[in-house]
Structures are given as C-alpha cells and as structure tokens.
Amino acid sequence: MTKLFWYELKRLHANQFFLGSLFLIAFFSWQVLSGEIILGIAQTAPFSPWSFGYYLSRILPLLLIVLLFSIAFFSSEQERQVQAITLATPVNQGRYLLIRCGAMIVGYLLLSFFTIVMSLVFNASLFQYTSFGDFIVPAVFTLFPVMLFTLGIGLVAGEIHPALIYVMMIVMLLLGFLPLPYWADLMGGSFFAGYPSELGVLDPSFGIPADILASRCIFSLLGIALVLAVARRRSNTCSVD
C-alpha cells in the first residue's frame, strides 16, 4: 500500500499542473499579502492570527479548486478506462480510493504549506515578526475542515457525474464572495474580518467561539463520512467473491 501511495502521489503531483498551480498560487498570495493583508485586518496587526487567517481564507478558493481538479483527474473518462485494469487487481478499491485521497490531501497540504511559508517570509522581512506558533491554530481551523468537506463532496459529485465537480468549483468560487453567517462561511473570511470587532477590545487574542468550532467539526465529520461512504461503496461494488 505504501508503494501504491507513493506512486499515486507522484502521478498526481509530479507534473506540470502541480508546478503551475504552485507558481500561480504563489503569485496570487504575494499580491494579496502586499495589497490587502499589509494594512491589517479588523484593526489588528498584519501579522496577527486574524490577518493570517483572513489571508488563508483569500487563498482557499484556489487551493480548493486545485483539490477539485485532482478529484476530477481521478473521475475523468481516462481514469474510468484505466479502472478496467485496476479492478482486475486484488487491491481493495475502497482502500485504493483512500490512498488516492491521501495523495490528494498531501498535495493540498504542500500547496498550503507553501502559501503559509510566503506569509511567514512576508511578516519576517517587513515587520521582523517571527512568533510563528501563533499561526498554527488559525491555519488548522481554516485549512482542514473545509479540505475534508470539499474532498467528501467532490468525491460524491464525481461518483454521480464528473461534470458536477466543475460545478463544485464554481460554488467554491462564489462562496468566497457571498456574505454568509460565520458558521456557514466555509472560507472563514467574514469570521476573520468581522469577529474581532465584535469582541469589543483591541487586538483580541485569537479564539474560536464554540458554535463556529462545532460547525467546523461537523463539516469535517461530514466530509470524512462522505469519503468513507464513497470508499465503502467502491469496496462493495467491486468486491470479488
């Protein structure tokens, strides 16, 4: 399985698309940092956890679209044709799907890591700020739940029809612009920009209200459940007696 994992990882990410995505996301990240984040979000410092979370929420649509492209790759007509061969192998298809999900998650995390590093370099070079431990919680809060949810939804969409994955991309893009309540805002932009002002103090320490934390947990669990459901369906559909 490990060998399969590394193979899928290489197949998915050792290509021009991933490198191109890296470059484009880097370019976009720098523009956002030097154009918006530099002024600070919600009256906080540009290197505050709130500004950092907002920065990630701006990049998130691109990261999710790359993730959806990965899902689309595995749901494409070409891959379906290859399935005729892979189905003949003794590999459990459900586990195979989970390995692929692992590869997709690694790719997403690599891109996210690169985005985070850009922010750290920006803050260190411009403001001499190096307390990067403050960014761990907002990074986890912003990146993981929505990744799991998108992965689950994307796999389900791909199972129904590959074209639906592209519809999901449009939805992800629009979510970044819609004014949603904090618990429903998957990207988290409105939370990072609006919540600090509601606390009534300047430069509040980073904290996540229970309801928003709960909603993120629900999204994560939902995503995991959907992934497992699709994996189980694949296992049952393709099981060999």
């Binding site: 021009q16 191109g20 484009l24 976009f28 523009q31 530099i38 600070g40 906080t44 679209i65």
Partner: protein
Amino acid sequence: MRFLSLLRVETWRLFRDRLTRVIIFLAVFSPLPGLFSSFPFALTTTKMGAYLASPALAGAVCSSFLFAFLTVKELDRVHKYQMSAITDPIISPLLVNLVRINAIMIVAVITQATVMLVFLPYTLAQTGMVFNWELYVTVYACVMLPSMLLAILLSASAYLVTQRAEISFLLFLVFALLALTVWVQDYLLVWIKSGVWVLSDDFGNSRLMRSVIYSRMVWFFALGGTGLLSLMCVRRFGKGLSGSFAQNSRRHFFVPIFAMAMLVLSCHLYYAQPFLDHSAPEIDYNLSDPNENLSCSALYAVLSPDIRTGEHFGTITYSLHNTAGKPEKGIFSINPGYQVTSVTANGRSVPFVDLNNDKMGGKEISVTLPATEEIELVMQYGGFPREWNIVPTLGRTEIGKNYIKLVNQDFAPVPCNFKYDKDIPVPFTGRIILPPDLRPVLFGTGTTRFLTVNPDGTKTWWFESSGYRVILYAGDYISRKVRAAGQDIEFLYSAKHDRIMEKCNVTGMLKEVFEYCTAHYGPLQFYENNTLKLIELDVYQSGGYAGNGASVMDENCFSEDGLKDPLKGASGNEVMAHEIIHQWWGLNTMFPYDTYGDPWSSEGLTVYTTYRLMKELHGEPYAKANYVDMWQREVDDYKNNFYVRHPAYLDRLPDDFRASITNQFSHVSQYCLVPLKILKAEELVGGEEKIDRILYDLSNREVDPEYPYLTYDDFVQACRLHEEDLNID
C-alpha cells in the same frame, strides 16, 4: 483565403455545438445580476449607472468566465481525443488554433450584439429621458465585449503554452480574482470589469470612457502579444515547448518580432498613461510664499477645448508688474498633462522651465520675467489634462460634447508666487469656444455672455471673472431664480433634470435650508447686491464645494430616489444642504487658510449645522443614527487602526500605503472629530439654544480686516471653555 474559409467553417461549427449554445445563452443573460443592488459591483447612484453600467459589469465578469471555459474546452479538443497525429499532417496546428480562437471571438461579438438587443427595451424603459444611444453602445462595446475577448486571449495563451486545460483555467482564475480584488483600484489593471465606477445621467462621460478604451488597449496589446508568442508554442513534430517554439519561430520569424513589439507597446502605454498625474502620495499643504515684487493686475485668455480628443488649448495674457528692478522667477501652476509651448514677455521670447513637480493635481512652470516694471506675458499651453492620482477613480475633469468642466489650473495657468490682495479686483476675462449645445457657467460671481456662432457651428462665449483662478462648467444648463430668506438665488441645473426638480419641489428644499441658517446664524452679509448661484455638477464631483458666490453639488444630490424618500438615510440631498450651509461657514465666516489640512476648518461647523438641520427636519433618532453615531464610528475606526496605534510600524510600509493612512487622518478629523467636539461644546454650554447664540455671535462678529478668520481658539473662548474640555475619548 484559406484562413477565411476555415474561419467560416469553424464559426458555423461552433454555433451548432451544444456547449457553445449553452454558453451563449448564459452569456446573454449574464448581465441580469447587475440589476440587483446586492450585486458586488452594482452602481446605484444614477440611472445610467444602475440600468446600463451595472448590467454591463455583471455581464463582463460572468461572460469572461464562460468564454474562458469555452476557449479552453475547444482548444483542448484535439489533445483530449488524441487526434493531433491525424490532424497535424492535414492542416497546420498553428492555423487550426488561430482559426479556433478567432471563431470563438466571433461568437463573443455576436453574443454581445444579442445582449445589447435583449436589454435595450428594459434599459430604455428604466432610464427614460436620460437614455443615451451613444453611451449605451459605448458601454457595452468597451466594458463587456473586451472582457470576453481578453478572457479568450488569456485562456487561449495559457492553454497553448501549457497544453493543460486545468492549469489554463487556473491561470485565468488567478488573473480574474486579482482583477476583482487586489487590483480593483487600478483603472489600468482591472481588466475583467474595467474602471467604470459611475455614469452621469445629466452630463458627459467622455473622459471615463476614454480611460476605459485606453486600458483596453493596454491589455489587448499585452494579451495580443502573449497570444502570438503562445501560438509559437504550439507543439509540432513531437517536440516539447522550447523545441516547438524554436521550430515555429524559424518558419514564421515575423510573428515573435511582432509579438514582442506589441508587448513593448503595452508596457509603454501602461507607464505613459495620460490620465493620472505623478503626485507624491504625501499631501504637501505648504504653499509657496508670494514674491512681494511681483503682482498681476489682469488676465485675458482665449480658450478652445477640443471635444474630439479631450484636450484643452489656450493662450493667456497676463498684465504683470515686476518692481524688483531685476529679473525675477514667476511661478505658474498648470495641469500636469499640459505643455507650455511658448512664453513671450512684451513680444520677446523668455526662458521658461517646466519643473515637472506634480503636486496635488498641478505642476509648476518657472518663467524668467524681465527686469521691467510693466510686463505683458503671453503664454500658449495645451494638452490632455491629468487628474490628481490621490483618487484612483477617473472623470473629475471632463472635456466632451455633452459637458466641459475646467477647474483652476485645468482652465489656465495660475500665477502662484504673485502678490494677491483680495481687496483689489483682478479682472480675468476672455473668450472660449464651445460646442453649440453647451452653456458656460462660472463658479463664483463671474458671468458669461454669448458672442457669436462660428462657421463650424461652435459658439464663442465671453467670460468675466475676478482673481487668478476660474472654474468653468459648460453643459445643457437651464436656470431658475429663487428667493429664499431675503436672498436671491440662481439655481442652474441640467435641462434633463427639469422634470424631477419640478416634481420633487427642490426649490422648496433650498428655501428650507436658507431659512434655517438665516434664522440661526443671520443673513449672508456679502450678497447684498449679488445673486448666489447653486450649480448642479456631474456625478464625478462626488459631493460638492462652495466658494464666494456659489455652491455646487453633484447630480446625485438631486436623484429622484433621494428627493422622494429622505428617510432612506444620509443621502445626496443632504450633501446639497451641506454645500449651501458652507455659504455661512467658510464664506460668510472665513476659516484660516494657512492651516489647511488641520482639523479646524469650515467642514466642522458645516457638518454640525447639517446635522442640526436634519434633526429638525427628520427627528433626533434619524440625526443621531446618520450623523453622531457615524462620526463616532469613523473616529473610533481611525483611532483603532493598527498603524495609528503603533506608528513605529508605519515607517515600514510602502509610501502609498503610509500616505493613505496619514491622509485619512485629515479627512476624519475635519468631518467627524471636529463636529463631535462642537457637539460636546453644545452639551457643556447648556444646550442647543446656547450654542446657537454663540454661533450667531461668531458669524456676525466684527472681523479684524487684518485677520478675518474664525479660529478654533475663537470658538473655544466664545464657549468659555478650554481646549481640553472638548477632547473626545
């Protein structure tokens, strides 16, 4: 010929393709979201903005995505089905891709034409009298259509280089998101929706549309050049990117050369943009000290704005006096876009230097004046006016067939370091040639008079004003005389707005403002024999201003929605009241000019008085919500700004960011902090009646001719308070 026949076949195939039809259908109705005020880029201030520009912007954004998707799908068709081994030997892949891209562009053009036909009846019905055919076609042709074409070029270029549909679409997405977010303030970079931020109903939009066309040219050259270079990257003979590029370039060597030329031209156009000046981001309020040996006793100008090109030309004659007995440098302020072509003194050429020191919307020309007591200085100048870059939106200067607005150094070079005594009138007269439908109006007490019709149909007007500066507006003005609180008022507005003015009883509102201010602060002292002008300007003015003899306000102050429902919130109609109130605070009572930029200015008392008037008209809850609470919010927001609280970090910011925060302080202080202080003074002195008495006495006090200004100290002392008493937490 082969290209054309292939193009015809491919275009016809595209129109029969189901996906293309779906895209066309969606694109035709893509302007619909723009009709909702919740649309992110909705322009709701004017009718043409709401029913023409907003749908065009929505269509531009949405259809760009649609056509980018279509382009990538179509170009990927051969690669996806691995047909290149069959098609490449039959027909050059370069030709195929070129034909395909052009065919998609033709589809985009036809889609645009369909959009214009579909939305025409609705736009006509909603805009009514202010509908303008030329503007309708121009907006769709310059805003929506180029967005689609640029999206096609961008996505095609990305695909031809990468040969990957996903990365091409991702690249398009990145540039689209940048244009919608980070680049949205830069009129040259906001390619996906253009820099249209408002449209005038009553006057002209020439300058804004010229800037849109200019920015489109920058992008067409950039993406056209990129597209041609990407065409050279089409894979041939099993080679990779670089091999194919080399192979194709050898065969079509002129293409990369032409492409590079286009890219260079695009860069040149970007950096040489003619619309904004190069003023430093920090505002320097310091004025140059006048030279006591130099004075000007008269100015005479002959002016001809060119409505076809948007340029302005003139010849101005100054009657100067140099009592120094030696040559002196005379400094004149001129629009940064103008060039001075010749300067003569008493018939002889004199040296002059363009200092190119753009500052606050002007630059200085230094002229070496001869050592002669009486000098007749003739200066010829002209060019395309530039606007002050501190405000990224364009359109504040207008030279077009529907409207002309020339302010101070845009009108003619202004003597800067010349002694000026406001008690000695300096006549500024001359002639200006205007289109036949435009009537000129001068800001202030100046007058105009029609002279003659010229052979080309234009009209020559005579103007008479006083002082070193003139502000001229020329539009389809009609005038109405009103008498309010014993004051004669001439109300000048666009003929298109006549029906609404009549219907909404605007003159009644004017009278209310005058009667309130006259009752509380006394009559305007200096208009005994003169009429006060109230002038409607175009929406690009964004507010208004006041001066000796006139108050001006933009057309939004007279919008039908605002006039009918004053409880909608602090609306443009209150801007009208604000500008009229400036006649009391700023003109009738003057404020120190040498502290321009400091918190204490005419704005504080004007904003406070507007609040008091609105409180009387609409009630305390309304006034508190729209004024006091808003002032406090703005002051708190500014004080809470991270960089204001930690000024040490301010130095680490780039210049333009640092300047925007510093400039914000001036605005918040004048318009929010000072009114809060006055409100606090009202509470401390014992209420509204007491403060009204104090303000009445200040407005009607005997002024010292040597220093006629009302200072903050004067106000605090009149309230029998100390400065610290008025500190706002």
